[in-house]
């Protein structure tokens, strides 16, 4: 038995996590954790449990904006002078669509790595993951999935930027930005209606209103609520044909109809928020979690296989 074989105690793992160990001991713990199932699980749990507190946003106060008053007055004076001075013709710039300006923002993410050939493994139930730092709802009809989960994640981020950046005020810090985006997400999930989930027959479609699913057989002219038996907020759906539709939502909610009328809840292995579903039929679907993990079923939801290892 060597020193390296002994599992470090929680205090040492905490010090390792907080960079409180000298380099030699850190390297020893690195080596141990890299081969130890128990310690890997503990540090993974530790990382998942690192949930920042959501601090309430400060109310905007008059005092904090008072310094803007003289500047605003000066700008107004210059604008008035420019407009009324003789010989000046006002020029009007066409407004830039918010979506375009958001699209034009440079992405901080590096280009996705080239996807290596896939390697699958037997599904293993992962521990519950409650911390979701990048929860981006994607209610738009799914596009072809990227091969690499990183690419998918970045695609989601880009989609999120387009959807939310115009509404979000510039954040003074990363933490505030995260809180702002979480709130924007919340508001979006709760308040914004999803686009229609159109089946292969455009007259048959569904739409999501929070936790309610509505159905239309006349191209969206009239809508009928359908009982789904869930109270979870629903986030996305896909209908491969007029009889079949898959809808996903928060806390591992997966719903499916195979007759276009009655909905059944499909068991999902994790209580994790789901943000996208790509369905190929009544048996095959791939769902994406809020942290960009993908799970596929080919037997109508009886078993789910994590897709991450296919990146190899």
């Amino acid at each position: 038995m060597t020193h390296a074989d002994i599992c470090p105690d929680a205090e040492t793992l905490a010090a390792w996590y907080d960079q409180g160990l000298p380099p030699a001991e850190r390297a020893r713990i690195d080596a141990h954790v890299s081969t130890c199932d128990r310690c890997q699980t503990i540090v993974a749990t530790l990382a998942r449990a690192d949930v920042p507190a959501l601090v309430p946003a400060r109310e905007p106060s008059w005092w904090s904006w008072r310094w803007l008053a003289p500047i605003a007055a000066g700008v107004a004076a210059v604008v008035v002078w420019a407009l009324v001075r003789p010989g000046s013709a006002p020029t009007v710039q066409p407004p830039v669509p918010a979506s375009l300006s958001a699209r034009a923002e440079p992405s901080a993410s590096p280009p996705a790595s080239a996807a290596a050939p896939p390697l699958k493994r037997a599904p293993e139930p992962a521990p519950p993951v409650a911390q979701r730092e990048r929860a981006v709802p994607t209610n738009a009809p799914p596009v072809a999935p990227p091969n690499d989960a990183n690419e998918l994640r970045r695609a989601d981020e880009r989609a999120g930027n387009v959807a939310f950046a115009p509404a979000a005020p510039p954040a003074p810090s990363a933490a505030a930005g995260a809180i702002a985006s979480a709130r924007t997400l919340q508001a979006t999930l709760d308040a914004v209606a999803a686009p229609d989930i159109v089946s292969s027959d455009p007259s048959v479609r569904w739409r999501i209103r929070g936790a309610v699913v509505e159905h239309s057989t006349d191209g969206g002219a009239t809508w009928t609520p359908q009982a789904t038996g869930t109270s979870a907020v629903l986030t996305a759906g896909m209908s491969p044909n007029p009889d079949v539709c898959w809808i996903v939502g928060r806390a591992g909610t997966v719903l499916r109809t195979t007759d276009g009328q009655t909905w059944e809840t499909v068991a999902f292995p994790e209580r994790v928020d789901l943000v996208r579903v790509e369905a190929a039929g009544m048996s095959t679907a791939t769902v994406t979690t809020a942290d960009a993990r993908r799970f596929t079923t080919e037997d109508g939801g009886i078993t789910w296989t994590p897709a991450r290892l296919q990146e190899f």
């Binding site: 074989d5 002994i6 599992c7 470090p8 105690d9 929680a10 205090e11 793992l13 905490a14 010090a15 996590y17 907080d18 960079q19 409180g20 001991e25 690195d30 954790v33 890299s34 081969t35 130890c36 199932d37 128990r38 310690c39 890997q40 699980t41 503990i42 540090v43 993974a44 749990t45 530790l46 990382a47 998942r48 449990a49 690192d50 949930v51 507190a53 993410s109 590096p110 996705a112 790595s113 290596a116 050939p117 390697l119 699958k120 493994r121 037997a122 293993e124 992962a126 521990p127 519950p128 993951v129 409650a130 990048r134 990183n150 209580r271 993990r293 078993t303 991450r308 296919q310 190899f312």
Partner: protein, 287 residues
């Protein structure tokens, strides 16, 4: 346990603002000495090493722990206000069904016992509490799994592998051996990154937080490691396995199409059962 020089203890006492909790200087000095003893188990460090070490400790948290041990009501009140919500937040993140909350309550009760003796200020109090909670949760889950009987349904699911040709089975065996050999050659940090992301299902951001790397760096390193693994597997199959190039490609493809029992998580943490579990030590009171 060697005492630290009084002058150094007094300076650190002031840095920690320990007077706020009316912690006796000797109590604080003893906690510092215990921390040094834990960090340097193999011998007496030089005064300079000691000074550098204690200077990097989370002194305010250590003082708070000392004050709680000493029975300061104000310290306990502060602890309740600052740490308990964070602990519950962590518990809910670990297990939203509430089981981790029960562990958090038990942990909190243990703080009134002698649990604080194991906090040495090498991490923040928040991280330490979270680590103890995570460890107890993982041990409880692992203990539960050992006792859990296999459900008929699970047996049926496992007993129905997809039909595969005999050749594919041999391919998988070769790929598994090649993968094991390739993983064994990995640097500890690369292996840990791979385990966090692929086996433990952490996000890039979580993996980065654990390894103190930006998530873009994690992504880049993972891509490089995967490429290296693929090359190493193919080299091994051609060399040790003696397979011609066509057969190497066919085998890798067969393993990718149907990995069968190939389990990366088990391979990356598979040696654990041979190791000494910390559960035994926790039974003796060490956490």
């Amino acid at each position: 346990m060697e005492r630290l020089p009084d002058r150094l203890v007094e300076r650190l006492y002031a840095d920690a603002d320990a007077a706020r909790w009316s912690v006796p200087t000797t109590t604080f000095g003893d906690a510092l000495a215990a921390s040094v003893a834990k960090a340097f188990p193999d011998g007496a460090p030089s005064p300079r090493d000691v000074e550098r070490y204690v200077g990097a400790l989370h002194l305010a948290d250590l003082a708070l722990a000392c004050a709680c041990i000493h029975g300061s009501d104000a310290a306990w009140e502060h602890l309740m206000r600052e740490q308990r919500p964070a602990l519950y937040r962590a518990a809910d993140a670990i297990d939203p069904t509430g089981r981790a909350r029960e562990l958090a309550d038990a942990l909190w009760a243990d703080l009134f016992g002698n649990l604080f003796r194991y906090f040495h200020g090498r991490s923040s109090l928040t991280t330490w509490l979270r680590a103890v909670l995570a460890q107890r949760h993982v041990d409880a889950v692992r203990a539960g799994k050992r006792l859990e009987p296999l459900a008929d349904e699970a047996i049926l699911t496992r007993a129905a592998p997809p039909a595969a040709e005999p050749g594919d089975s041999r391919c998988r065996q070769i790929v598994q051996r090649a993968l094991e050999a390739a993983l064994a050659q990995l640097d500890a940090r690369d292996r840990l990154r791979l385990a966090c992301y692929h086996a433990r299902q952490l996000t890039l951001a979580e993996t980065g937080r654990l390894l103190r790397e930006h998530e873009a760096t994690v992504s880049r390193h993972l891509a490089r490691t995967r490429r290296g693994l693929r090359d190493a597997i193919e080299r091994w199959m051609a060399g040790e396995g003696g397979l011609p190039p066509d057969e190497v490609r066919r085998c890798v493809q067969a393993a990718m199409d149907d990995p069968g029992p190939l389990d990366l998580a088990a391979m990356l943490g598979g040696a654990s059962e041979r190791k000494i579990s910390g559960v035994d030590r926790s039974k003796r009171g060490a956490v």
